[in-house]
């Protein structure tokens, strides 16, 4: 069985949540193995990351080099190619950095690549069995991956449950000197923070959220009307922003905002993992979608199979009656 490594992504001295999930993923490949963490970066933050990883990993390879202080997957790839032994399995979180790093890493390691792995079912001969999703999670696929020359596996964040096992008390091994010179024809310049919009959806307790199912820009008024009747705010999924129907500041998801409402009403949203990644705090999730097979119904608390263009106006009207009646009752008492 090949050795398993976990490339740990970190931010401001803190490992990403996926750092604790990758050992669980590794056990689905080989129950007997605990993976070696690899961490790249520079300075005191990197040391903090290594220190906190000692609780979950038995061995941590630290690569501290100044060019790795800023995000640049091209440089990280060079470093990894020089230290990862041939034939290894490398786990990487499937997010923005992993998308940049892993396909090229697999080529340079002459290894197989499987992205966005949601489950694994062990190894049979040279074939590792993995589970992925296609078409935005509508259907799933079992894939087999030839690991005879190694593999790079991008792991879906949240798909593998972190085990709260005993402290590993891991040792940190400094591999910084083994990566040679790091050079790239791509240079990091700066990071620009997302702009804030007219309203801050991250603070709203109730969100009416529209997806591509809204069809066209004019129809957004229907959701706005319901939101107004409910005293809620309108958020949206990415295609609505891509089409320039709503401002980027209203987008929920991994490349948008992370929201923590009490109630979230998803209207014509299929429920991709990138969208759901922005929905935290376990809200009461209502999904309205015309397709009963939409993946959102797998995670929602309550589902309504209907056409949002008809349902939302009817709902708005009923809510207005309700709040008007409610108002009257309150005045009486």
């Amino acid at each position: 069985m090949p050795r398993i490594f976990a490339y740990v992504v970190h931010n401001s001295g803190v490992p990403d949540d996926t750092a604790a999930e990758m050992p669980a993923a590794a056990r689905r490949i080989d129950p007997g193995q605990s993976p070696v963490a690899i961490v790249t970066g520079w300075g005191a933050e990197l040391d903090q990351v290594c220190e906190s990883l000692r609780a979950t990993y038995g061995e941590i390879w630290k690569i501290a080099r100044e060019p790795l202080a800023h995000p640049n997957a091209e440089l990280v790839r060079q470093a990894l190619v020089r230290v990862v032994p041939a034939g290894s399995i490398v786990l990487v979180p499937h997010a923005h950095f992993g998308t940049d790093l892993s396909p090229g890493l697999a080529i340079k390691l002459d290894a197989a690549y499987v992205p966005d792995v949601v489950d694994m079912e062990g190894v049979e001969g040279r074939w590792l069995k993995a589970v992925r999703q296609e078409f935005g999670g509508l259907i799933w696929a079992r894939v087999r991956c030839d690991i005879s020359t190694g593999a790079v596996l991008n792991i879906r964040p949240g798909a593998f449950r972190a085990a709260d096992g005993a402290a590993a008390n891991g040792r940190v091994v400094d591999r910084s000197a083994d990566v040679g010179t790091l050079e790239s024809r791509r240079r990091y310049l700066e990071t620009i923070a997302a702009e804030s919009g007219d309203i801050d959806i991250t603070r709203e307790p109730v969100l009416v959220s529209v997806g591509r199912g809204i069809g066209e820009q004019e129809n957004i008024a229907v959701a706005e009307d319901l939101a107004e009747a409910m005293g809620a705010a309108v958020s949206c999924s990415r295609p609505v922003v891509d089409a320039k129907w709503m401002d980027k500041s209203r987008q929920v998801g991994s490349s948008g905002k992370t929201v923590r409402p009490k109630v979230y009403i998803a209207c014509g949203i299929s429920g991709s993992f990138q969208h759901l990644a922005g929905l935290k705090g376990n809200p009461f999730l209502v999904a309205i979608n015309k397709n009963l097979k939409a993946p959102i119904f797998r995670v929602a608390d309550v589902g309504i199979v209907d056409d949002i263009l008809e349902f939302l106006p009817a709902m708005a009207e009923r809510v207005r009656e309700e709040t008007a009646v409610g108002g009257k009752t309150r005045r009486k008492s």
């Binding site: 995000p71 640049n72 997957a73 091209e74 997010a95 923005h96 998308t99 940049d100 892993s102 396909p103 090229g104 080529i107 197989a112 690549y113 499987v114 966005d116 999703q133 296609e134 078409f135 935005g136 509508l138 259907i139 799933w140 696929a141 894939v143 087999r144 991956c145 593999a151 790239s184 791509r186 240079r187 990091y188 310049l189 700066e190 990071t191 620009i192 923070a193 997302a194 109730v206 409910m230 922003v241 891509d242 320039k244 980027k248 987008q251 109630v263 009461f284 959102i296 797998r298 995670v299 309550v302 589902g303 309504i304 209907d306 349902f311 009817a314 009923r318 809510v319 309700e322 709040t323």
Partner: protein
């Protein structure tokens, strides 16, 4: 600047119900409506906008079968100067690495300053662009949301990262970029536009022209193979509200009141 855009024809999830065949080997393909992969359309628009500023040609290429020619014509109707179909039985059932190898072999038959792909195909793995770059030893950036041509054979690009933040990088040409949806507003293509390009010949290249790819193409060389499609295991499923629309609304209002969604 001469730009190559890689594009793929995919089943359009907005137009179809995607169903799995009884044996799980494939999805039901009869009567499927196909279109050009969403991100690839943004990539073509990005290429057209750059070429309009710098001069140069935009070529669209796909690895596939005869039926895939239609997307090349569609992108030519948008304004691409030419399309090329890379087709051969030996390329069939390749994994992403095999597709990237065919594209690499094609790139080496010409000269391109910039190569664009989509971030991900709807039925794909967000891999072909990064693999192609590594095979060519070109610099690569994924999830690109803006491109600016600066002096001296360089680009300044933004890539999207967590939380809608943007990372700005300088990148040397030639390079490969994978384009994220939303980078621009792809221009509209009407039937008339398609008719205008209907008779332009589309060159085809196959195994003899792209021989160096053959060690990685086809099912036999695929390191990653789909065994079967299946319907997801039952998870926590939503309670579906049943009844007439009015009844459903009454139930929902009661639930929302209980959960703090309505006062």
């Amino acid at each position: 600047m001469d730009i190559l855009v890689c594009a793929k024809r995919v089943p359009d999830t907005a137009e179809n119900e995607i169903e799995i065949k009884a044996d799980g080997a494939d999805i039901e393909r009869d009567d499927l409506v196909y279109s050009v992969n969403e991100a690839d359309n943004y990539a073509v628009e990005a290429a057209l906008q750059i070429a309009a500023c710098t001069g140069g040609k935009v070529t669209v290429v796909t690895v596939g079968g005869e039926e895939d020619e239609e997307i090349l014509r569609r992108e030519m109707a948008m304004g691409a100067n030419g399309g090329v179909l890379l087709t051969d039985d030996a390329f069939r059932d390749s994994d992403g690495r095999g597709i990237a190898a065919v594209l690499k072999a094609f790139v080496e038959t010409g000269h391109y300053d910039l190569i664009l792909t989509g971030v991900q195909a709807d039925d794909g793995c967000a891999q072909v662009g990064g693999m192609l770059a590594a095979m060519l030893d070109y610099p690569f950036a994924s999830l690109v949301t803006s491109i600016e041509v600066v002096e001296g054979g360089k680009l300044k690009i933004a890539r999207e990262v967590e939380g809608g933040n943007k990372e700005i990088h300088a990148i040397d040409l030639p390079c490969v970029l994978s384009i994220q949806t939303g980078i621009n507003e792809p221009r509209y293509v009407g039937m008339r536009g398609i008719r205008q390009v209907a008779s332009i010949p589309i060159p085809r290249l196959g195994a003899p022209d792209l021989a160096c790819a053959l060690a990685m193409t086809g099912k036999g060389n695929a390191k990653v193979q789909r065994s079967r499609y299946f319907t997801p295991p039952a998870g926590k499923a939503a309670e579906i509200l049943e009844g007439s629309r009015d009844e459903v609304i009454e139930k929902l209002i009661d639930l929302l009141k209980a959960k703090g969604g309505l006062n």
